[in-house]
Amino acid sequence: DTAVSQTPKYLVTQMGNDKSIKCEQNLGHDTMYWYKQDSKKFLKIMFSYNNKELIINETVPNRFSPKSPDKAHLNLHINSLELGDSAVYFCASSLWGSGDTSTQYFGPGTRLTVL
């Protein structure tokens, strides 16, 4: 009965490779997000989707491409991985709206290590 799930939990790969992280939520939310947490624990939003439409696209290299096949899924594909991409990536979801109804719920994270 996991609310927001991500796969894989750990991802170790070589520089230059392409990899994907998958996210699914079963909360009935219409908005999903990708965050990056760096080694200093700083959390920064990368993308958000509402009803499969891209809403937020922060200044993220275009090697990162999110894809939302439906409201319950938001995947993150990363091309040509670089050392600096090593971080923990969190998926989150919420209802679109204001106040407590739009609280964001986070997944368990995917720790990406680029060698």
Partner: protein, 112 residues
């Protein structure tokens, strides 16, 4: 303008003490201020949240104090326990954009 400044970076308190974590912001377009708790290896989890038209909100041992004129808000943990040891993040949501801007985080340690 979209920053949220959080302090201290780390905090050590004895069991039963009252740790206080402070946050400050500049942008008046923020309309919602949640606090998240993160344990090692886990995702952030919502702890408590407040709207700017409320000066204080309490849930169990956790209290948010909000000072709209000073653009500051803080988290107080009453009767702190070793199980409260975690990283705490304040955040502010940009009105209409559903975008959360996080503070830098505070690593809290409660000694038994």
């Amino acid at each position: 303008q979209q920053q949220v400044k959080q302090s201290p970076q780390s905090l050590i308190v004895q069991k039963g003490g009252i740790p206080i974590i402070n946050c400050a912001y500049e942008n008046t377009a923020f309309d919602y201020f949640p606090w998240y708790q993160q344990f090692p290896g886990k995702g952030p989890a919502l702890l408590i949240a407040i709207r700017p038209d409320v000066s204080e909100k309490k849930e169990g041992r956790f209290t948010i104090s909000f000072n709209k004129s000073a653009k500051q808000f803080s988290l107080h943990i009453m009767d702190s326990q070793p199980g409260d040891s975690a990283t705490y993040f304040c955040a502010a949501r940009l009105e209409g954009a559903q975008k959360l801007v996080f503070g830098q985080g505070t690593r809290l340690t409660i000694n038994p």
